[in-house]
Each structure stands twice: as structure tokens, then as C-alpha cells.
Symmetry: C2
Subunit: 147 residues, 2 copies
């Protein structure tokens, strides 16, 4: 498959690369990138174990990093690509960032934000299921090794 | 009023000190401390403007700092004291930290977590309204200067 360099799948592949970096560190393999003006302005992967910090989800680090790249804390013209549906914390952070769009891979029926209503900013668009199988398989194989 | 050094009011006074530090920096005046074993193990104040980072709420910094102090990311025997009811992001972070108790000052009907059901960890206890007036007045006077 050839991917357009501006397609959602292209950027999700980049988020998956980040997830693989988390995996190499034995972290729950979740990765994220933030895209502004068709360019990746932030990349991050889950580091909660390495940093001993529950707030170190891929998305949280990506928000911090994107704001630094832009020189402003609002991300209304940006898109977050993340391999797993964001949790409540990350959804809450996305609200404050006014992020324009969230694209995620695998759904998270247990800890994903979407089972609670109204957590996102009203202007934030959402698209789920991009490269879902690949994102999901990575997580499943990680947890399989932990049992 | 003489406060027991282990009372909720005593620790909320310490959180209020942190909120005043935020005010001095022209930040929305919210402060937090985390107490473990009757001792303050983390203090923080809102730094979202200074750090240009929506994730830099007082509570988020306090979670990170408390985990570092304890050498473990779970805070199940700790209490968070915060001058304002936590938002969705901070409630989500508190879930991951398994924090034992949250004590807050002023309610936040607009952006507080409590209007959404089920965001906290099932084992987290909550007490609101501690030094509510003082916590609330500080915020009101800050926003009055911004209008």
C-alpha cells in the first residue's frame, strides 16, 4: 500500500513507530504524534514506567512538546494521532489545548474517554479506527507477554 | 483559630500558600500539596502560562513530584489538597495514581470533574469545601482584575 504523505494512515504509522519505541522500553506500547500545517511538530511515546509518573502518557508529552514547538499552548489547528483511544486524563488535557482533531487507532472500551460524554472540547473533531488492527495487535501482544 | 498540624484546614492553608505563589506570577491562583504519612511530600502551583503548557496544573505537577518523592507512581496512601475542585484532566491523572483521598476548597461547577460521573478511582475518597471561602475569594479577585 502506498500512503499519501498527508493521509491519516501515514501519520498513524508515525505514531505506531513511537509505540514501538515504548515497547522496546517495556512500556505499554502507545505512541502519538501531533501534526500542524501538515508537518509533525511533536512525537512521544508512553513513559510512565521509565519516568515513574502516571502523567507521562504519550499524548500528554505530545501536548507539552507541540505547545513548545508552536510557542503557544493552544493547538486548535493541529491534529493528534495516537495509537490508542485517549483516556480521561488525556481527553481532559486535549480540552484545555483546544486541539482541532483527534485521530486514534485502537478503541479502549475500558479506560477510553468516549464512554463518558462531553469530555472533549466542543470544537474537537474525532476519528477512530485508523490502522486499528495494527495498533491493537501491538497492545495485545505486549499484554500477552505480561500474563 | 488554632489548627491541628494534621487537620485538613492546616494542609489546605499550605495549598493556599501555593495558590498565592501562582497569583504572584499572574497565573490562575490554584495551589496543591500532597500529604503522605502526615507529611507534605509535594507542593505545586498552577504554571500553565509560565510554562506555556496546558498540562501544568498544580495537581499534575504535584502527582509527578509525589511519585518522585515516594519512588513509586501509586499514591494510594496519600491525600491531595487542592484549592479548586480538580478538572477532568487532573481527575483522570488521580485515577491512574490511585490516590487515597482528594480534599478540595472551592467547587468548580463549570470545569470541575464532579459533574461527570465515575471519573475518579473507586477507592479515592473526596471531601470538598475545606476553606472554601478563602480558596474561592482568591480566584474571584484574580478574575476580577482580568475583566
Amino acid at each position: 500500500m502506498t500512503l499519501s504523505v498527508h493521509s491519516d494512515e501515514h501519520f498513524m504509522k508515525q505514531a505506531l513507530k513511537e509505540a514501538h519505541r515504548a515497547l522496546e522500553l517495556d512500556e505499554v506500547p502507545v505512541g502519538a504524534v501531533i501534526v500542524g500545517n501538515k508537518r509533525i511538530i511533536a512525537r512521544a511515546h508512553n513513559l510512565t514506567e521509565r519516568l515513574n509518573d502516571v502523567t507521562a502518557h504519550a499524548e500528554m508529552q505530545a501536548f507539552t512538546s507541540a505547545a513548545e514547538a508552536l510557542g503557544g499552548k493552544y493547538l486548535k489547528d493541529c491534529t493528534l494521532y495516537v495509537t490508542l483511544e485517549p483516556c480521561v486524563m488525556c481527553a481532559g488535557a486535549s480540552f484545555w489545548s483546544h486541539i482541532g482533531k483527534i485521530v486514534y487507532g485502537a478503541p479502549d472500551p475500558k479506560r477510553g474517554y468516549s464512554k463518558f460524554g462531553g469530555l472533549l472540547h466542543p470544537k474537537t473533531k474525532v476519528k477512530g479506527g485508523v490502522l486499528e488492527e495494527e495498533c491493537s495487535e501491538l497492545l495485545k501482544s505486549f499484554f500477552a507477554t505480561k500474563r
